[in-house]
């Protein structure tokens, strides 16, 4: 057995969670070697599109208990409360850390960090950098990471599988997108921080890179995917493209009007109005559409989001990107015109089964950020909780991974060489060498996306979910017989899209099976045929395990309740 060079920690994904993990790892152990592997240059990661801000308890009269309660209630009592407790205590330190690293948080006149109201939060606690919070956080942390020579990047490297040997994760196999050469990267610990999978849907705020790669990698390696039925639909997407109109528009005082000129939120969340949680506002909008009270346009029904009463000065100071997006993509000036919006797929609450330190059940494998499920978001994430989630649990995973690495021997070469040969053969036989085929990858992907929009949306039914469950194997067969136009190795994005589509189909399997089995309505999972929450049967996390050629095997794990007993979720 020959040892091969191995990193202490290998991180897949260079967004906020991955970068935070990398810096955490070298901060507690400056001798640690860290590989940061991403299919894009890190500053392209989808963190960049986050707009509204990051929630944290910064000062009186806010309290940890209040943030924790809002999060648990927002989660419809599916969040693990011990995890929430740690989160609310660490989030403020992470916000201050980002400040020390140079994040241009918006400020009060006295120079302290400003906060704004956000949906489902009982007090003002969302810190922000105008309405480009994710952009500034990502560039700040990426640029900060450049000062650590221990963090070695492999930009535009696409990971296709995990190296699992002796029951532990010892690295990844993938290919350099420029050369197409398949190679291993060995490591004592691996952290998955690959983000979400919103591109499974047609109408989504997510960028094209959000294809659930890390979730699929873990799933294929035998790790359960947790709570995959819980998909967040954001109430305010641009009707044509799905570009996100931030919740901060409502946080700053924007109104939602139906076609009858009514602030309809009053009938659904009277105490919160426009600042109800996302799941409830999205359902309210769809319900209004079905009652005939929406506007109609070429992209279907929509509502008006109105900030005209805020005035140009506030809009330019707090929401300049929204004005820019309106002018650019809708030809409207939000200072003078209401913004057309409709609910849009936005965020995956589910993810790789991981504990409070990001540890998965497999030794050496960790997960953080949107691709993970550490039990924090439950059935509905509150807006502005995901950026601090990336920081708190990214850092936790980085620290845990480096500690684990210290106790591990180096990976050995022999089995890895064989795995690389197998992976090389699989990619060639399945895609690059295929000469005959039928549908293009893009067409199959569009059919998946449209079917998911239709059947796994804001409201679900047994019938629609069964239809989707039947459609998935057919889509997979079509992928097996897909037409491949590009047989080159150099920067073959058709190959990347095919492999991403495999990941999306794996994720979709778990989402549909988990949604079918959960015969209740909780948080973002709304079943028309089971409209009530059922704590007797379903106060539990769903875990979906892969069974090749068959629907996933499901099991349930009780929610950890520490202080807040489940009660009716009204606002």
């Amino acid at each position: 057995m020959v040892d091969i060079p191995a990193y202490d920690v290998l991180i897949v994904g260079g967004g906020l969670a991955g970068l935070r993990a990398a810096i955490a790892a070298v901060s507690i152990d400056p001798t640690a070697s860290v590989a940061l592997v991403s299919k894009v240059y890190p500053m392209r990661s989808h963190t960049v599109s986050a707009e509204g801000g990051a929630a944290a308890v910064l000062r009186e009269p806010d309290s940890f208990e209040s943030h924790a309660f809002d999060t648990v209630k927002g989660s419809d009592y599916l969040a693990d409360q011990d995890v929430v407790d740690v989160f609310v205590r660490e989030a403020p330190l992470e916000i201050i850390q980002m400040e020390h690293w140079g994040c241009p948080w918006s400020r009060e006149p006295d120079g302290t960090i400003s906060v704004r109201p956000f949906g489902g939060m009982t007090t003002w606690r969302t810190v922000f950098a105008a309405d480009k919070s994710g952009f500034h956080m990502l560039h700040t942390i990426f640029q900060t990471s450049l000062q650590y020579p221990q963090i070695q990047r492999r930009d535009e490297f696409f990971v296709t599988s995990l190296i699992v040997e002796d029951g532990r994760c010892q690295g990844v196999i993938g290919f350099d997108m420029r050369s197409g050469v398949v190679e291993p990267i060995a490591a004592r610990s691996v952290i998955l921080a690959t983000g979400g999978n919103g591109r499974i849907f047609a109408f989504t705020t997510n960028g094209s890179i959000c294809t659930g790669d890390g979730m699929a990698l873990a799933y294929r390696a035998g790790i359960g995917l947790k709570d995959m039925e819980f998909v967040q639909f954001h109430p305010t997407g641009m009707p044509s493209t799905g570009i996100l109109i931030t919740e901060a528009v409502r946080g700053e005082g924007g109104y939602l009007f139906n076609a009858e000129g009514e602030r309809f939120c009053g009938r659904y969340v009277p105490t919160k109005m426009e600042l109800g949680p996302r799941d409830i506002i999205s359902r309210a909008m769809v319900t209004e559409f079905e009652a005939g009270r929406g506007f109609s346009g070429i992209y279907g029904n929509y509502m008006h989001l109105d900030v005209r009463h805020l005035g140009e000065e506030v809009i330019d100071r707090k929401l300049p990107f929204m004005r820019e997006l309106g002018l650019e993509y809708m030809g409207i000036d939000i200072v003078k015109d209401p913004i057309p919006v409709r609910p849009v797929e936005h965020y995956m609450m589910g993810g790789v089964d991981a504990d409070i330190n990001g540890a998965t059940p497999m030794p050496g494998l960790y997960a953080a950020g949107e691709c993970a499920n550490v039990g924090f978001n439950g059935a509905n994430r509150l807006g502005s909780n995901s950026l601090p989630e990336c920081l708190v649990f990214g850092a936790a995973a980085g620290r845990a991974a480096v500690r684990h690495a210290r106790e591990q021997p180096a990976p050995t070469a022999n089995p890895i060489a064989g795995m690389v040969r197998d992976e090389e053969r699989r990619i060639h036989q399945t895609y690059l060498d295929r000469t005959a085929g039928h549908d293009r990858i893009g067409v199959i992907r569009e059919d998946l996306q449209r079917a998911m929009d239709g059947n796994v949306g804001v409201f679900r039914t047994e019938e629609g979910l069964r239809e989707m469950a039947d459609a998935l194997p057919v889509l997979r067969e079509r992928l097996d017989r897909a037409r491949i136009d590009d047989h080159s190795r150099a920067f073959n994005t058709e190959l990347v899209q095919a492999l991403e589509l495999e990941c999306m189909l794996d994720c979709a399997d778990t989402m549909v099976a988990s949604a079918l089995a959960r015969q209740e309505s909780r948080g973002a999972h709304a079943r028309r045929d089971f409209p009530e929450r059922d704590d007797e049967r379903y106060l539990a996390h769903t875990l979906a395990h892969r069974r090749p050629g068959d629907a996933p095997r499901l099991e349930y794990r009780p929610v950890r309740i520490v202080g807040f007993q489940p009660q009716a979720r009204t606002y």
Binding site: G111, L146, S488
Partner: protein, 244 residues
Amino acid sequence: MTAKTITLSVSRYDPERDEKPSLQSYEVPYRDDMVVLDALNWIKAHADGSVNFRWSCRMGICGSCGMNVNGEPKLGCSAFLRDYLPGPVVVEPLNNFPVLRDLIIDMDSFMEKLRWVKPWIIRQETALGGGENRQTTAQIDQFRQFSMCINCMLCYSACPVIAIEPEFVGPAAIALARRYDLDSRDQAGQERLRTLTGNDAIWDCSFIGECSAVCPKDVDPAKAIQQTKFESTMGMLLPWGGKK
């Protein structure tokens, strides 16, 4: 009635097969609200899966889809087809970078330049428990525009200096250096300035201003370069230096 279409001429290059790039034309369905990126995505999904380009957010913030549209550097996601009627629309990779494939450039050189200007806060570390540094909106306004750079490389494509001196650190990296030099929290003193006044840096700039003209985010790198030149000159003339 036939549906409206528009022709895209796309630069194709495969290092495994082609000596040099050539244009390939595609007929694409046209809608008024379509951008060049939409047209490329339509081609890849429906006409030719082998066309390669980078993209992600399609909202002008991730910086992936810089490309030349009819010879001008643009973000593909914000170049509307309606501005190029009746076509054809010529789509090529950005200038001044090696081409890896079709519209995809190799921008590793920028990543090295970025690191070289130390784009991070240089400051004696303080405990997090001490809370945030105070910073007023007026202080943020000093550097705000330079912090808006999305690293899309349009300015490098437009820069006449990069075209003849590839080692020139370039507009975006200098703007980001300036972003930190102007940040009230930064204590780098002359550290970045010394780097920027050395070889391949600010004195190479001939102040054409193309970088600022093409920036899709209204960053003004030319101003950053001028400010740095001024500060450096003051530093040479005045005994106490030009830096804050």
